[in-house]
């Protein structure tokens, strides 16, 4: 009887053992079957490639204007997507314009994630007066609508890509800080952190081994959802004349300068907006997919 038992027990144990898989590899595995996310990830990749290789891909010089070929419709001679109000080739300008949009989307979010994340983890883990000092300061910045704060900062600093990025970074820090803080506070109260403290570990070691791994997820998800906001806000600043300086091609700025021509070539005028929309939509959907893939109790 015992040998049957031992055999069975061993068999059951082997059968019941699931494949050993870490959190991140299980996230990747879930993403593999999410075709919508994969598709839009490919779109983002394509946009990035186009922006990087714009000098090679663009048929014309994006800044070369021509009075003779102003406001030509889509498909006019060699101008596949027509020309703008100064006779510059739309296709070339659209290909080049992605560079600033991507930059405006990624750099402020990355900076804000870094700064806001550190501040939030500090506030959440240390608690007490450090938390009060950091979070109340953040509340003040939070008391501005994001568009207003971005416009206020870059409006007073003056236009330009660099100032725009500074403004957007400042806009995003408070919300990222809040997300990091609440995630940290939540993790800090869990039993395994108490157990780590009970084993005599130093604060730094606990943060490194037990807090960061559990806080990075939510912060990362939130940050990814901000990229699209950042692209929209960045283009919006350019639209107001606070971002990129002409004649640099930029989708927001193009939208603004073409506005006077909507009665002449409405389709051409709408094109930069389509580019912004596709980019921002792709980032949004990929962020949603990431959130779903990462949102598991594991």
């Amino acid at each position: 009887m015992t040998d049957v038992n031992a055999l069975l027990a061993d068999f059951a144990e082997k059968e019941a053992s699931p494949p050993v898989r870490g959190y991140w590899s299980s996230v990747a595995n879930r993403l593999r079957y999410d075709y919508v996310t994969l598709f839009f990830l490919a779109v983002i990749l394509l946009i990035v490639l186009i922006s990087v290789f714009a000098p090679l891909l663009a048929p014309f010089d994006p800044t070369k204007s021509s009075m003779a070929y102003r406001m030509k419709p889509v498909g006019f001679r060699n101008f596949v997507l027509g020309t703008d109000e100064l006779g510059r080739d739309m296709l070339s300008r659209l290909l080049w314009g992605g560079r600033t949009s991507l930059l405006m989307g990624l750099v402020p979010v990355a900076l804000a994630t870094f700064i806001g994340g550190i501040l939030g983890v500090l506030a959440g883990f240390l608690g007490g007066w450090v938390n009060t000092a950091i979070m109340r300061t953040m509340d003040i910045f939070y008391a501005f609508p994001s568009v207003l704060l971005a416009v206020a900062i870059s409006g007073t600093l003056g236009g330009g890509t660099k100032n725009g990025m500074v403004a957007l970074t400042l806009v995003f820090i408070p919300s990222l800080c809040r997300v990091a803080e609440s995630a940290t506070t939540q993790v800090r109260g869990l039993d395994f952190v108490e157990a780590a403290r009970a084993s005599g570990a130093s604060t730094l070691s606990i943060v490194q081994h037990h807090i960061l791994g559990n806080v990075l997820g939510p912060v990362f998800i939130f940050a990814s959802s901000l990229i699209s906001v950042s692209i929209l806000l960045g283009s919006g600043l350019s639209f107001l004349g606070l971002g990129v300086e002409p004649p640099t091609p930029d989708w927001g700025l193009m939208l603004s300068t073409l506005r006077s021509a909507i009665y002449v070539q409405p389709l051409v005028c709408a094109l930069p907006g389509v580019a912004i929309f596709i980019t921002s939509l792709s980032f949004n959907l990929v962020s949603d997919g990431l959130r779903q893939a990462m949102d598991v109790k594991a």
Partner: protein, 318 residues
């Protein structure tokens, strides 16, 4: 509850002070001499000396701030460099125009989003939900300044049924939403503005209601024999505080963030005013509008918070 309300009001005072510090600091951040930015370029040296004294620029910065705050509290936000009228008058007349379109957008977006979001949550995973979710993603991904242009192309340029820009011949002083001749100027701005909050509130409502529907007590409600409508009533009532918070934030964003939409439609609100101020480097006007808008935002959040305590019995009333 009254204790809580009083506490919440008290807590917004330091925030309001902080906001005023930032608004004041904006002028210091601006490149160049703050005096220069306050004065028209053709000001005489006597004027400069007079102004320096008047604004206390010869004193240390904290004192300057306090003086500025004192003036701001008494309603003196300086003089606009362009129109030479008091900033406060300019801002408040523009604010009423902004309210017209933002409140319109709020009513439109909030009702529609709340209904659609709840529907999606109830049909989680079904076609209704997918459609609503897709619409919401499109809503938050579309640049609304571009959508404004597209709407103008369709309704003003192609169809010619609605005016493209402006506020009509009556101007802001006699604007009435009850007359179509005037209201039609506000239609496109309202539609454009409503889109982003529509998407965001739809998402929030959907996830909040879906979360509530996942709770154990929904099983209990079903076990009591309640039908879908009664269960949704419970779910909505539970999700309300969370949705309310997001709605408050969105209302604030609409009032404070109308700058792009107003610029496209040359709607004479605070956003348009700011955009003009930026173009002409009219710093007192810019600073004044930012201050007023941020304070409006703080006030809206305060009101929403208080409303929330009124609808949520779980918040301690001690």
């Amino acid at each position: 509850m009254w204790y809580y309300a009083a506490r919440r009001v008290l807590m917004s005072i330091p925030i309001a002070l902080g906001v005023s510090v930032i608004c004041y600091a904006l002028v210091l951040l601006a490149p160049g001499d703050p005096i220069q930015s306050l004065l028209p370029p053709d000001a005489s040296p006597e004027d400069i000396v007079y102004l320096k004294k008047l604004y206390g620029f010869d004193k240390p910065i904290p004192i300057q701030y306090l003086l500025w705050l004192q003036r701001a509290l008494s309603g003196d936000l300086g003089i606009s460099l362009q129109t030479n009228r008091p900033v406060i008058v300019e801002v408040f007349s523009a604010l009423s125009n902004t309210f017209v379109i933002s409140v319109g957008a709020v009513l439109l977006a909030f009702t529609l989003a709340f209904i659609l979001g709840t529907l999606a949550a109830y049909h989680l995973g079904k076609p209704t939900d997918r459609a609503v979710t897709a619409a919401a993603v499109v809503g938050v991904s579309i640049p609304n300044y571009w959508l404004g242009i597209v709407l103008v192309i369709i309704f003003a340029v192609k169809l010619g049924v609605l005016p493209a820009t402006g506020m009509g011949s009556q101007g802001s002083a006699h604007f009435s939403i009850f007359e179509w001749a005037q209201l039609k100027y506000a239609v496109l701005p309202i539609l454009t503005m409503a889109l982003v909050p529509l998407g965001i509130i739809m998402r929030t409502t959907r996830s909040a209601v879906a979360e509530v529907l996942n709770n154990d007590f929904v099983q209990m409600l079903r076990a009591k024999g309640l039908g879908p409508l009664a269960i949704l009533r419970h779910a909505v009532r539970n999700a309300l505080p969370q949705v309310l918070t997001v709605m408050g934030l969105q209302l604030g964003y609409l009032v404070g963030g109308s700058i792009l939409v107003e610029t496209i439609f040359t709607w004479p609100g605070t956003g348009f005013l700011m955009s003009k101020a930026i173009l002409t480097r009219d710093v007192p006007l810019l600073q004044g509008s930012i201050l007023v808008l941020a304070m409006t935002f703080v006030t809206i959040n305060l009101v929403v918070d208080l409303l929330q305590t009124a609808v949520d019995p779980r918040i301690k009333r001690a």
